[in-house]
């Protein structure tokens, strides 16, 4: 896993965040309380002189880990976040991709419509998945949240797209260039608080956090940020290997993303 120059990927993320707030009328960010979206918020605080200028949305399906809720409330207070909790009516009979597709995406649609957001910051990275690696920094979605992946807009130099079909929104991906190990190195450098579930209880830890239904931990002894970085330096596995939805059906990520999943 390549360790990139943190200053240069931070600068680019900061630039993209400033482009987002400058180009769009009504911007929001998704905050899963995971490491990536928390890093994104830390960068936003730097880019906007100490305060995150846009609301942050937590899609709450009420089956997140208890640790996640505690973490959310304490950081929201400390960083003075404008937190919107969007409740998704979890259907108990759904699991995996069907659950993510229906519950998370539907809840997001409702909250986007309610507040009239025209841009949504999502902290995905290319190294997470081959489909995410095909994304643009700024990517339009139509009113039904569909991703027209066969006809993505040109995106070159610093000229990100801002064209919008009526009623759609644009996804903003400031962390697209980052690798998993960069996230952890940045967390260390900037002393960013993270959800305690990422650290080992002595036997195992969560590498990627979804909700309690679909996330499984991996064997690990890493109890600190440094420990995680060391572990990743030697690693060959994919980060989302503990996320069941990525595996169950063919092209499930492509199908989910085409329909509006993050």
């Amino acid at each position: 896993m390549i360790k990139q120059d943190l200053d240069s990927i931070e600068t680019k993320a900061e630039f993209i965040l400033r482009e987002a707030t400058s180009r769009f009328r009504n911007v929001a960010a998704l905050w899963s309380m995971g490491k990536d979206s928390t890093v994104m918020l830390a960068i936003a605080r730097k880019a906007f002189l100490g305060k995150v200028p846009f609301p942050v949305i937590h899609i709450d399906n009420s089956i997140d880990f208890p640790e996640a809720y505690e973490f959310r409330d304490s950081l929201a207070k400390k960083w003075r976040l404008n937190l919107i909790v969007a409740e998704s009516a979890i259907k108990r009979n759904l699991i995996g991709a069907a659950c993510c597709g229906k519950n998370k995406t539907e809840a997001l649609k409702t909250v986007m419509a309610e507040y009239g957001f025209d841009a949504l910051i999502v902290s995905i990275r290319r190294d997470e998945h081959g489909i995410r690696a095909k994304e643009r920094y700024m990517s339009p979605r139509d009113k039904d949240f569909k991703w027209d992946y066969k006809n993505q807009p040109a995106e070159l130099w610093d000229n990100y797209t801002s064209k919008l079909d009526t009623d759609g929104h644009v996804r903003i991906h400031p962390l697209l260039d980052w690798n998993e190990i960069d996230i952890w190195r940045y967390i260390k450098r900037e002393r960013i608080p993270v959800n305690p579930l990422y650290f080992s209880n002595g036997r195992q830890r969560y590498r990627s956090l979804g909700c309690t239904h679909c996330t499984t931990p991996l064997k690990s002894k890493a109890k600190t940020v440094e420990g995680i970085i060391k572990e990743l330096e030697a690693d060959k596995d994919e980060e989302r290997s503990g996320r069941s939805m990525d595996k169950e059906r063919e092209y499930v990520m492509q199908k989910l993303r085409a329909l509006g999943y993050m």
Partner: protein
């Protein structure tokens, strides 16, 4: 660690994705999960292992054996790191090719040695676009040497076929390399192939390391100060102008000019990364306190007070058209969109690099044009400052091309 961006260009089916896939695998940079997935789908489509499937992740791409959109894979090998940018070779997907190639420090151009393939219009078009976007270093990788029994004559034939064009558009000397490879059988990729003992030059990886070594970008710091304004922000002590330093450096107390407004001010406060600082340099995002000002719109540029940057509304430009525009044209310059009109002076044959008569716009072709913008903009010749010397062109909201200021 610094990552050098290399874009892999060339005609469709000449082996771009296969080459990148194999480079990622051989260097140990691809994850096991990606390799396993590529294996699974290779089997599905009754192929021997297809390294392109490491990059080509869409169902359609694997089914049709064709790259639809640009992506990149990161490769780390022997202390060097590269982002290998894959682009589609198909003519209709040129906007995706331009998107990927625009980030490149240098290009690897693939030409298939297979009989009946060779140098095509699209091969040359890709090179023309790369050169137009300011890329000056190229590796011509003559691929599929296995299909011609690894014969030197075929390599020489292709080299002779493309060399005059490369020179015509300005790729030459120490910044131009030729190498025979087989992307699929991994000949001459990281090491030296036993199948082509007649080739005694560097391996592809070694050439990439050589070309990537002298980083560009650093020279931006030596150019005059230019800041592209993104927006304004308010903090406790008033408003600040927010933007990125695209070249040069600035210091607290310095006098600056905002264009096209012609406003002269002194820099009273500088913020980088949310902290007050005394100086800032190219590449950094800044917030500047310059006293009380009206809103400064996007597309404005801040320069040193005395360095002679002026705003213009008539621009001589070289434009590449990915498609034919409708009447209404807009350009995106430095983040701002503005109306424009075009008068074509002459066409340029992108397969020879030569100027030819003609005043109409040809899709997938280039032209010299006089651009009139609806407002004055602080544009500069591309040669002097890349970021103030280039723009994207739209018509009815659709991307139709790119332009550079002459």
């Amino acid at each position: 660690m610094e990552i050098i961006n290399a874009a892999f260009l060339g005609n469709k089916d000449h082996g771009k994705s296969t080459l990148i896939g194999n480079m990622l695998m051989l260097s140990g940079s691809a994850t096991q999960a990606r390799i396993d997935e590529a294996k699974k789908y290779s089997k599905r489509f009754h192929k021997d292992f297809e390294p392109a499937f490491i990059l080509d992740s869409f169902a359609e791409e694997r089914r049709e054996g064709m790259t639809y959109d640009t992506t990149r894979g990161e490769m780390e090998y022997r202390g060097s790191a590269f982002a290998l940018i894959d682009v589609p070779g198909h003519e209709e997907l040129i906007k995706n090719m331009i998107s990927g190639a625009s980030y490149a420090n240098f290009v690897v151009l693939l030409v298939s040695a297979k009989r009946g393939e060779g140098v095509t219009k699209q091969t040359k078009r890709h090179l023309f676009l790369a050169r137009m976007m300011g890329i000056g270093k190229a590796i011509v990788a003559v691929n599929k040497m296995d299909t011609v029994e690894y014969r030197k004559e075929r390599f020489d034939e292709i080299k002779e076929d493309i060399q005059p064009f490369l020179e015509e558009i300005g790729f030459e000397g120490r910044d131009l390399f030729f190498i025979p490879i087989s992307a699929y059988y991994a000949d001459n990729l990281l090491g030296h192939s036993k199948n082509m003992k007649w080739y005694t030059g560097r391996s592809l990886f070694e050439i990439m390391r050589l070309l990537g070594g002298n980083g560009e970008g650093k020279e931006a710091g030596r150019l005059p100060l230019r800041i592209a304004v993104q927006s304004m922000l308010n903090d406790d002590s008033g408003s600040v102008v927010v933007g990125k330093i695209i070249s040069g450096k600035l210091q607290l107390g310095e006098q600056i000019m905002v264009l096209p407004q012609g406003l002269v001010r002194r820099i009273r406060r500088v913020f980088v990364g949310g902290k007050a600082v005394k100086a800032a340099r190219a590449g950094e995002n800044v917030a500047l306190g310059i006293g009380n000002v009206e809103t400064i719109p996007r597309g404005s540029v801040i320069a040193g007070k005395h360095d002679g940057l002026v705003a213009v509304d008539r621009i001589n430009a070289l434009i590449f058209f990915s498609r034919k525009p409708e009447k209404d044209i807009t350009i995106n310059f430095c983040g701002a969109e503005l109306g424009a009109s075009l008068a074509i002076l002459n066409n340029i044959d992108v397969t020879t690099g030569k100027r030819i008569a003609g005043k109409s716009i040809k899709p997938l072709g280039a032209a010299d044009a006089l651009l009139r913008t609806s407002k004055k903009i602080p544009a500069e010749p591309f040669e002097k400052n890349h970021e103030l010397g280039r723009f994207t062109v739209y018509s009815k909201g659709l991307f139709i091309g790119i332009g550079i200021v002459k």
